[in-house]
């Protein structure tokens, strides 16, 4: 089992997933403002989650468990897109009021 080709592919997927999460965290430190940080967090982390899910799928107990992991993935994707949009809107709204203060 440990050295079967499938296990190697799984290991590769899991490691790549970790690397994308690493990049997402790097983005939190390197990027200059909230909105660009959201870009890094949503895109890199979602890809990381995708690779981790693909790496886990072949070795789960049964098709129902695999379906559940895919369901969680879909929920996490939708959650992340929605949360990104909402935080973006909040940042934009506070931006706008800031500009108005400048003009006043």
């Amino acid at each position: 089992m440990p050295d079967s080709p499938l296990a190697l592919i799984q290991a590769f997927m899991l490691v790549v997933g970790c690397l994308f999460f690493l990049v997402g965290t790097l983005g939190l430190f390197r990027l200059p403002d909230t909105l660009t940080r959201i870009h890094a967090l949503t895109k890199a982390d979602n890809l990381g989650l995708g690779f981790i899910v693909l790496g886990l799928l072949p070795s789960v107990a049964g098709p129902a468990t695999a379906a559940k992991i895919l369901l969680i993935w879909l929920v996490a994707l939708a959650a992340s897109a929605t949360a990104a949009h909402l935080v973006g809107r909040a940042v934009r709204a506070t931006d706008g009021s800031g500009e108005r203060e400048d003009r006043a």
Partner: protein, 156 residues
Amino acid sequence: MAYAGSAAIRTALLLLTWWALTEGDPAATGFGLGAAPLVALLSLRFFPPSPLRPQPVATLVFSGYFFLRSVAAGVDVARRLLSPRLPISPGYVSYTTSLPAGSPRWLLANTLSLLPGTLSVTLHGRDIELHCLDTTMPVSEDVARTELRIARMFPQ
């Protein structure tokens, strides 16, 4: 007739979700078989069937496109972050969509947040305001391509 069809589709989807949630536990199947049709009927009272029905083939094509583009999005962000110069030029871009209100427009806004370089910030009627990681990229063309694929999913 459309009502019965929607009820059947929703029941099937709910059963599939239930099967996944309980990880196929046979002890829970009875409850799912009883609850799924009831929940489907209840959902039809709250959310009546919409005239906009996604076409199966176009939906699959869109899913594939979305999958590939979101991989590209992750790679794009990674490339920019790992480059020492940090090549970004963030800014806002407005886009006016021709998609009908409701699920198509909502789908476009949400999808754009996961595609390369764009993040939907506000949605007022037809106008979507996007935040872009790199405004020098052809953002509008990219958005238009995604929009076209969503439009094909919901033929009028």
